[in-house]
């Protein structure tokens, strides 16, 4: 079997495996036509894959948008937290000192409500939420945002004295993933209604 036929076959298998229930019969219909082809398998499979990707995007767009907003929310929430929660109770300088002293704890716990929300919204996607939300959005996306403001590169993660949440980077990352896991799992178990 040629490479193009192998790729085409993988695409068709993905179409059938990942089609939503309402489209499963149509996905099987597309595959049966694929099986009846004499030639043009890759083009047919690519077209079906595109159609299936559009179905998935229509279903998942809000979830993906929320994931993309993770680094923005994590960046914005602490900035507005003072103005809405602590204004009048503590001085801004005292708040900044508090943030500085407890930056690690704040940094690890800030995404917890978001993880709960995402876990509730998509209880079938806890694993994906952890990978996309924690690894990609919070840490890769967050690093990109910091790089834009302060310069530097991803190599700083492996610098000799690098820390994440005042721990070695790997430990910091695993701790963050645990928080996401706890949040997403809690959210998945909650019963308040989500209209989807």
């Amino acid at each position: 079997m040629t490479i193009s036929r192998t790729v085409a076959r993988w695409m068709m298998e993905a179409v059938v495996r990942h089609s939503p229930p309402a489209r499963h019969e149509w996905a099987v219909a597309m595959q049966r036509e694929y099986d009846a082809l004499d030639r043009g398998h890759l083009a047919w499979a690519a077209g079906c894959f595109t159609a299936a990707a559009r179905w998935a995007l229509r279903r998942e767009w809000l979830y993906l948008l929320l994931i993309c907003l993770v680094p923005v929310i994590i960046e914005v929430v602490p900035r507005i937290e003072f103005d809405f929660l602590w204004y009048g109770l503590v001085s801004r300088s005292a708040f900044i000192a508090f943030e500085h002293n407890y930056a690690a704890v704040i940094g690890i716990l800030t995404p917890l409500p978001l993880a709960i929300l995402l876990g509730r919204y998509r209880p079938d996607r806890v694993g994906t939420t952890i990978i996309l939300g924690c690894l990609l959005a919070q840490h890769v996306g967050g690093t990109l945002m910091v790089m834009r403001e302060l310069g530097g590169s991803f190599l700083s993660w492996w610098a000799p004295n690098a820390t994440l949440y005042m721990m070695p980077p790997l430990a910091g990352l695993l701790t963050s993933m645990c928080v996401w896991y706890i949040g997403a799992s809690l959210g998945a178990r909650m019963r308040w209604p989500v209209h989807r």
Binding site: A29, E33, A36, T50, A51
Partner: protein
């Protein structure tokens, strides 16, 4: 009020109408209309959801092969095609030569 049918949807309905009461497979429709699979099937789905065509699984001519999904236009589809051709000279002309 339902959305106007796109030109590609009308092309597909015309191809189904040209087949009369015969069932047609997706591959045949793709060849007749020139539509790629990624365009053809979303249109088929939309037309099916609007009850403008019928679909069924047909047993294959060759034994040992799995059933294939086949389609044909229904009365509502013919009516929609007639409605659309009233506003489209090219469609009306095609109908005149059938």
């Amino acid at each position: 009020m339902s959305r106007r049918l796109s030109s590609q949807s009308l092309l597909l309905l015309q191809a189904l109408a040209d087949g009369g009461s015969h069932w047609q497979y997706g591959l045949e429709l793709a060849r007749m209309t020139g539509l790629k699979s990624g365009t053809l099937y979303p249109i088929l789905i939309r037309l099916a959801e609007r009850d403008l065509l019928e679909s069924c699984w047909l047993e294959p001519e060759r034994s040992g092969r799995p059933p294939r999904h086949a389609y044909r236009i229904n009365a509502a589809g013919r009516s929609a095609l007639r409605e659309a051709s009233r506003g489209s000279p090219s469609l009306a002309l095609k109908g005149a030569f059938q």
